[in-house]
């Protein structure tokens, strides 16, 4: 079994080198620098008799602050900092205190004592309501905002040391539910803003640096300046067309005038699974299997004859079976990130340049553990071409982000494509490796006389062979250029052109193997696919802002945009019989070129489409006390027929700052700010397959036929593939939002509240149609989903001397209900065979229920005695014909004396009622400590680790010990039966568990060496240690309660068939700013 993993090894070597570099910079370079500074400190310490003081004032990022005012308290003596943040002041009093103050920052008082050098870091005044937030085609003062938005600072994302931006957003965004769809590195998150509104595409619109439609997963958290989430319809309305699921605005870091600063941020961490199910050992397994046979009226296995060699080893205690999950656990899986940022420029031109590398290994999948790595390069710059005395007349700039990521993984899909599942059910009596170190395959079974079951195969080997050798590479370029012209003070024209290029390639190899009588592949298979294409956006806006009579503040924006996508092609091929059998390195189509029956060749243009939009916004406020916003957007989409293309999305919003009123003066002592706001608006959604309005004729290779006696010539067929829906049009989500923003106790306490009702109308849904119509259903505008909820945010920030601390608690409650489905039965059915072959539909969308709710039988415990069964029957309650003691009691809900489909009901809801996040942080001198937690409550998980119908020999977890095996032994777990007895075959609440959890996501302790070694050449040198996923508080019995998997359906989650769990990680990191 010669296997070549060179490619992966080389990846490992590279990573190791990087890790060494990181460690090197931690252990060697830093102390060298420190020694240099001690000298300087000492020298300054000796010259304390001078009556002057000097230093540098920087912000928290180490950026120098210019024009900071420094005043010797009690005097008029003072100065300001220069462009490099430097100052120098001769003191009039040796016991002086200096007051450092700067607009937008918290003022600081420092006692000089005997110091001659005082460097000050001013903390941005987070409470300042004048802070600007991004609202789409512009910014707005936070205190004037009338909608429901969240802003998360890039630093708050970065400090969580996650590989993905969404992972970091999780705990910081009330009303935005972010769930991992798998713990495998590089896998996506499910993002739902204010409840699921559709069973189609429910992800929000991402707008990256003003360009809609980008992929947030291609960004490194270190590149992000801020993320703004527009949750209510009115805020999102300016992006009307695709804003039905909310809008996420991402702003990458921009250059700032001033000193050139270079920063290096890095971490390296080690990940492990924190909870693994306890699987049966060989001995336990044999006992359980024999009990199954006994219950079935069969004789126990003759283990000594069936597995002679292993039986001997088990009996003499030298071997206790294979724990397959343990076998594929990748101990101390590495994760690391390195980011370099260079910022600088002048008033005229500035830039921000960065490169980052991030890499994460998977905790399961050894010896082909998943691996995700990403390289990012970004350059943003802004240039003023023409300037007058007051403002920039012509500005030009660009944002450019290139990302290259590489991903390889194992199966994380359904029961037939899930390696974690395969390990959970793997037969513990089968060794993983033979004595020669090769995989224990069919030949090993034959050699050892392993004769229990011919079909049993080594799940580890089949993972490697069938799903482990693959590589996904993707390149993405996101660029935009803008031109801003401001001919007069109040008028601004902006034109921006965005360009997105994506290219991806995939390669997979399945070698020849022979693992069992049913798991064999006599010819190897190579497949490759590649695609490349681009899309563009062209936008022009004109804005005008003016204040009249110092009271009437008015700004208006009009704009037009067009988008075009689908300029790209894909090619794919797969074939058998590689010229280099067994070699992953040589697994390319060029090495398997003989055309045969397994040859697949494909190539297609990407489906093209376009969007044209016009929009306008008027903001008005009277003295920053009464606010109103009016937005109108019109969008035309190529997905609809000519007469149904255009959708119009209006919105209105209003706000009132109560605390500006004169009658509120009495509350000023404790209430600093209070604003009421209300908004109403409509947003659209057009994400469906194109050409639903046309009676199309398809020609796919799945609809051909074999004529003649040549078995190799598939003749192409044509067929009408859809019942056209010529009147298909926009889905509309309508939302009413009422909110309060307030600040108390001298701005230390912040409280926000939102209530919303989001109604998704004309829901785009592919509803089933009668089979006699003879073809596939089209999408129709066919349903209504309502989401109603409440969001609360509570923040507290305080600085006591040098001690700073802050608490941020947020929570959201949401109720989801389908109120109409326009097909005849009012149901969208889910698929069968989800938990095991032969199981019926287990989730569906139905009027009156949450979308994707779990559907099945309610159970009432376990029948303990025959008498109890008889009693049930005598009472006229339905009992299955074959029921015997130890079987599940299915509840006859309709009391018709039989257990039928009509007894099924809601047995679980995958959507949490309540989600929340908590951030606590402390700072003292150079120390910082923070804790982040996230939680979800009120939802259920459907868990089944065994796909029982596939083989009765599947292993169990030790939960099996709680089975019923005689009266009174269990009222929850039925007796053991072989295969798909109705006990397991009927979808019932025995699979359903509450999924409530609180995860301590991140605990970080950092120390900035700069606070000790004041004169080191860094403005910041922070070292930190972090623990991620330290505790999960949950009653859920699986590996990880945070389960986005829903049988590959966007509208379902919480199905655990062996979910790839998120790791517990310990990492050390470094932030250096020069």
């Amino acid at each position: 079994m010669e296997f070549n993993f060179y490619k992966r090894m080389s990846g490992k070597t590279f990573r190791f080198a990087l890790a060494c570099f990181a460690v090197h910079s931690l252990t060697l370079s830093v102390p060298l620098e420190l020694r240099a500074h001690e000298v300087i400190v000492n020298r300054h310490g000796e010259s304390r008799i001078q009556q002057s003081v000097s230093g540098v004032v920087t912000d928290e990022n180490g950026q120098p602050l210019q024009a900071v005012s420094i005043v010797e308290q009690g005097t008029t003596n003072g100065t300001t900092t220069d462009a490099a943040g430097r100052y120098s002041l001769n003191l009039s009093n040796s016991n002086a205190s200096l007051l450092f103050s700067y607009i937008g920052f918290v003022s600081q008082t420092v006692t000089v004592a005997n110091q001659s050098s005082i460097n000050v870091t001013l903390v941005e005044d987070v409470n300042v309501l004048d802070e600007l937030i991004v609202v789409g085609y512009g910014t707005q003062k936070k205190k004037l905002v009338t909608g429901a938005t969240i802003q998360v600072d890039g630093e708050d994302l970065q400090r969580l040391s996650t590989a993905s931006v969404l992972g970091a957003l999780q705990s910081q965004s009330p009303g935005v539910q972010i769930t991992q769809s798998s713990g495998q590195p590089g896998e996506a998150f499910k993002v739902t803003i204010r409840g699921l509104g559709t069973i189609g595409n429910s992800s929000p619109l991402y707008v990256i640096d003003g360009v809609p439609g980008g992929d947030i997963n291609t960004l490194n958290p270190s590149d992000i300046a801020s993320v703004d989430v527009l949750k209510d319809a009115a805020s999102a309305a300016i992006y009307g067309s695709r804003a039905a699921n909310g809008v996420v605005l991402v702003t990458t870091k921009q250059g700032k005038p001033g000193k050139l600063t270079l920063s290096y941020d890095a971490y390296i961490g080690w990940q492990n699974a924190y909870r693994m199910p306890s699987l049966l050992t060989a001995k336990e397994y044999m006992t359980v299997m024999d009990e199954v046979r006994f219950n079935e009226g069969q004789t126990p296995y003759n283990w000594a004859a069936l597995i002679p060699k292993q039986y001997q080893q088990i009996q003499d205690g030298t071997w206790n079976g294979t724990n397959w999950l343990r076998e594929i656990h990748n101990d101390d899986a590495l994760t690391q990130n390195h980011a370099f940022n260079l910022n600088g420029g002048t008033e005229q031109s500035n830039f921000s340049l960065s490169y980052s590398y991030s890499d994460q290994e998977g905790i399961f999948g050894k010896p082909v553990e998943p691996d995700f790595s990403r390289n990012n390069f970004r350059i943003n710059s802004n240039h003023t071409l023409l300037k007058n005395d007051d403002f920039d007349v012509i500005k030009i700039g660009e944002n450019l982000t290139y990302s290259y990521s590489k991903k390889g993984g194992i199966g994380i899909g359904n029961i037939y494509w899930n390696d974690i599942h395969n390990m959970l059910v793997g037969n513990p009596l089968l060794p993983a490796y033979n004595e020669e170190g090769g995989y224990y395959d069919r030949a090993s079974k034959v050699a050892d006389g392993w004769n229990l079951d011919g079909a049993t195969s080594n799940p580890l080997a089949s993972m490697v062979y069938q799903r482990g050798l693959n590589e996904n590479k993707s390149h993405s370029l996101l660029a935009n250029v803008y031109l801003e012209v401001q001919p007069i003070q109040d008028l601004k024209f902006r034109s921006s052109f965005g360009y997105k290029m994506n290219s991806n390639s995939y390669r997979q190899y399945t070698p020849i193997y022979d693992l069992s009588t049913t798991t064999a592949n006599p010819t190897d298979d190579v497949s490759q696919s590649q695609g490349m294409g681009y899309s563009y956006t062209f936008e022009n806006t004109l804005s005008y802002a003016r204040t009249f009579n110092d009271m009437h503040n008015f700004d208006a924006l009009v704009g037009a945009s067009m988008e075009k996508w689908g300029m790209g092609e894909g090619l794919n091929a797969s074939n058998s019989n590689s010229l280099f059998p067994g070699s992953w390195d040589h697994a390319y189509i060029g090495n398997a070129y003989t055309i045969g029956t397994t040859t697949v060749i494909g190539g297609m243009r990407w489906p093209e489409g376009g969007l044209s939009s016009f929009f306008g916004r008027v903001n008005y406020n009277y003295n920053e006390t009464y606010m109103a916003t009016l937005i109108m957007r019109a969008d035309g989409s190529s997905n609809f027929a000519h007469d149904h293309r255009w959708g119009y999305f209006p919105s209105v919003a209003a706000g009132w700052v109560l605390t500006n009123e004169s009658f509120m003066e009495s509350t000023q002592g404790w209430l600093d700010f209070m604003k009421f706001r209300a908004s109403w608006g409509q947003n659209g959604n057009a994400s469906i397959d194109p050409f639903q309005y046309l009676a199309t004729i398809a020609f796919d290779s799945g609809n051909g036929y074999y004529f003649g006696d040549n078995k190799n010539d598939l003749i192409t067929g044509a067929y009408p593939d859809i019942l056209p829906n010529p009147i298909i049009t926009w889905e509309t989500s309508e939302q009413l939002n009422i909110g309060i923003d307030s600040r108390f106790a001298h701005n230390r306490l912040g409280f926000t509240f939102d209530w919303y009702k989001k109604t998704t109308k004309d829901w785009l849904v592919e509803a089933p149609i009668l089979a006699i119509y003879g073809t596939n259903p089209p999408f129709i505008n066919g349903g209504v989903i309502e989401n109603t909820g409440i969001e609360l945010g509570l923040t507290w920030d305080e600085t006591i001397g040098e001690f700073r601390y802050g608490i941020n608690l947020n929570g959201a409650y949401n109720k989801n209900e389908v109120t109409r489905i326009d097909n005849r039965e009012g149901i969208i059915h889910g698929p069968e065979h989800v938990l095991s072959q032969g199981t019926t539909e287990m989730y569906r969308a139905q009027v009156g229920f949450p979308v994707g709710y779990f559907y099945g039988y309610e159970t009432g415990g376990i029948f303990q005695t025959q008498e109890q069964i008889n009693n049930y029957r005598n009472q006229g309650l339905g009992v299955l014909v074959n029921a015997q003691p130890g079987d599940v009691i299915f509840v006859d809900n309709n009391g018709d004396g039989a257990i039928t489909e009509a007894d099924k009901k809601l047995i679980g809801n995958p959507h949490p009622d309540f989600t929340g996040g908590l951030n606590i942080n402390f700072g003292y001198k150079g120390f910082d400590l923070s804790l982040t937690a996230t939680g979800a409550f009120g939802h259920q998980i459907a868990k089944s680790y065994r796909s029982f119908a596939d083989s009765p020999l599947q292993n169990y977890t030790t939960e099996v010990f709680q089975r019923w095996h005689g009266e009174g032994t269990s009222n929850k777990y039925p007796r053991l039966t072989m295969g798909s007895h109705t006990n397991s075959q009927y979808i019932s609440d025995i699979y359903i568990e509450d999924g409530d959890f609180v995860k301590i996501q991140n605990v970080t302790l950092g120390y900035d060496l700069k606070s000790v070694f004041l004169n080191m050449p860094f403005s910041k040198a922070r070292l930190y240690v972090t623990g991620q996923n330290l505790f999960t508080i949950t009653g859920y019995s699986g590996m990880d309660p945070e389960i986005g998997y829903g049988y590959d359906q966007s509208w379902v989650s919480g199905i655990d068939l062996g979910f790839y769990p998120s790791p517990r990680t310990f990492l050390v990191g470094l932030n250096l700013t020069f």
């Binding site: 079935e296 075009k564 093209e608 000519h642 293309r645 199309t696 290779s701 051909g704 004529f707």
Partner: protein
């Protein structure tokens, strides 16, 4: 300022251009431009045939599978989880909407045929009228075949003969049979009288239409106790004399005939297997598309689970009828692995042996695990309803490829995928010439056709009697999807099916007897008339316009397992 206004005006004009919103499909045509050429017409026709494969992607819910497992000559079998198989045998339901995949596939075929029949006039450039008539005739043939299978399976079904989408109730059987007769008449009249070999195999011919007409006539008049078959569109009736004319034409002019040796019809006699199959001494396999095949579903080698192709491109019946895991290897050579559906009722073996002891067809059709294979394991992979007898007509046939046992001869012969689940390329013969001869005998009530069939099996001629004909059909056409419907039309079903009770079987290797479920075979047959449940989901989607068949939808009809 002026300049800027100009610029915005310009960009607005540019953007508002609706052209940005006009897009083109790069992989599909539409009914506006299709079909317009002869190639289009042929592709459309292929699209109709493709639904035959589509139904076989889910074989366990199909017409052929049902007729085999529900018949008296075979049990359900499979593993203990395969309630679908056992449920069929007991005429019971196993899940809501179980026949939906078949229902969908057939109505897809009907819709495609309707589309073709309505739109073929748009096509220009025919070489001749004959070319057009062949395509149109095949579309009519297929629509008739689809409705016939639906009617045999469900009794009454909605009759859709145009492309208009309408929620309509079930049509009376008479109406549907009238439409079937009309379509077959069209097919017979439109298609040429040239020998079968002038058309590429797989395509329907005039002869196939005539044979199917005879089958439809026999079933309709037999089951519904009628003398004539009505014809839709005021076509009067098809009477027995007319059918006899057609079947005689088919026998005399089609070019079809019997192959010399019955055993060479089945793939176990293929050269690649036969070289190592010492027990087989007969002539080699004549292959798919031989002169005895009047109409068959064709299979090929580009197969997958639906990513690029479809599962039904391979013969999934063969897989389902294979031996359960741990059997199907060298010890049972040449009979390969599958899901163990449809064990043969041992009564067929014994009754056949008693009735016709010298019939070579018995051992040519049935594998006796005791004598025919080296080492057979009872109860392998929890085999249920096992008798030790397996049919040999549609079962995986393995072969040695340079010493390695491969799951099918087709892997070597046709380069089929080397996977036991998708390597089976054996065509499924829906109409075999031997059946045509037997129908000829039955219609004419003379033994000529029947004795040709017997002569091929080296059996002496007999004189005609219905009893003799019934036996002959049972032996000759065993396991070919006909028995169940023969019993239905002869009125023999209830008793014949009930005779399965008490037959010795093994469940998971443990000796037991076939037993009654749901009140017994007879009660089930009488409750349902032999027809099956309309898919429940379709009834719900129709808002009750469709109604459930009698005998279904009650707890008593549900098979929950042994």
């Amino acid at each position: 300022m002026k300049k800027i206004i100009c610029l915005i005006a310009l960009s607005t004009v540019f953007l508002s251009c609706e052209k940005n919103l006009d897009s083109l499909s790069y992989d599909k045509k539409n009914t506006g431009n299709f079909p317009s050429t002869v190639t289009d017409a042929n592709q459309m026709l292929t699209g109709i045939y493709s639904t035959l494969s589509q139904a076989i992607s889910n074989p366990q819910h199909s017409h052929f599978y049902m007729s085999e497992l529900a018949s008296d000559d075979r049990f359900g079998g499979g593993g203990e989880n395969d309630k679908d198989m056992q449920g069929l045998d007991h005429l019971m339901n196993t899940k809501s909407s179980r026949f939906e995949p078949f229902w969908i596939a057939r109505y897809q075929g009907i819709f495609r045929a309707n589309t073709a029949i309505e739109n073929l006039d748009k096509v220009e450039g025919w070489e001749s009228d004959a070319q057009k008539n062949q395509v149109l005739g095949e579309a009519h043939f297929l629509r008739a075949l689809f409705y016939f299978e639906l009617s045999q399976m469900f009794g009454e079904v909605p009759l859709v003969i145009s492309t208009v989408a309408e929620n309509i109730p079930k049509a009376p059987a008479d109406e549907t049979y009238a439409q079937i007769a009309y379509d077959l008449q069209q097919a017979i009249n439109l298609m040429p009288s040239s020998p079968y070999s002038s058309v590429i195999s797989g395509h329907a011919t005039k002869w196939a239409a005539q044979a199917l007409m005879a089958r439809v006539f026999l079933f309709y008049t037999g089951y519904y106790n009628k003398t004539d078959l009505p014809v839709a569109n005021d076509g009067g009736v098809v009477n027995k004399a007319q059918v006899i004319t057609w079947i005689d034409e088919c026998v005399n002019n089609s070019g079809h005939g019997l192959v010399d040796d019955f055993r060479s019809l089945w793939p176990y006699s293929n050269d690649l297997t036969a070289k190592d199959y010492d027990a087989y001494t007969g002539p080699l396999w004549v292959g798919d598309g031989n002169k005895e095949v009047v109409f068959a579903v064709k299979f090929g080698t580009s197969v997958d689970w639906g990513e690029n192709y479809q599962l039904g491109y391979s013969n999934q019946y063969v897989l389902h009828f294979g031996l359960r895991s741990n059997n199907g290897l060298a010890d049972t050579f040449p009979f390969g692995q599958g899901w163990g559906a449809g064990p043969v009722n041992s009564r067929l073996w014994t009754e056949w042996r008693t009735s016709e002891p010298n019939d070579i067809r018995r051992t040519a059709s049935i594998m006796n695990a005791e004598t025919d294979v080296e080492n057979y394991i009872y109860g392998a992979d929890s085999q249920m309803e096992e008798t030790g007898f397996w049919q040999k007509k549609y079962i995986p046939i393995t072969a040695y490829d340079e010493g390695t046992l491969v799951p099918s001869y087709a892997i070597i012969k046709f380069n089929a995928p080397a996977d036991m689940q998708i390597s089976h390329t054996q065509d499924l013969v829906l109409i075999r010439f031997a059946d045509v001869l037997l129908m000829q005998s039955e219609l004419k009530e003379d033994a000529t056709g029947m004795n040709k069939v017997r002569a091929r099996a080296n059996l002496p001629a007999v004189s005609y009697s219905l009893a003799a004909l019934k036996k002959e059909r049972r032996w000759e056409l065993a396991f070919e999807g006909l028995r169940y419907f023969d019993l239905m039309r002869w009125g023999d079903a209830a008793n014949a099916l009930a005779a399965q009770e008490g037959v010795a079987i093994k469940n998971k290797g443990i000796d037991t007897q076939m037993k009654a479920f749901g009140g017994g075979y007879k009660a089930r047959f009488e409750a349902t008339g032999g027809f099956w449940a309309i898919p429940e989901a379709q009834i719900q989607l129709s808002e009750g316009v469709l109604t459930q068949n009698k005998g279904w939808g009650t707890p008593a009809a549900e098979f929950t397992g042994w």
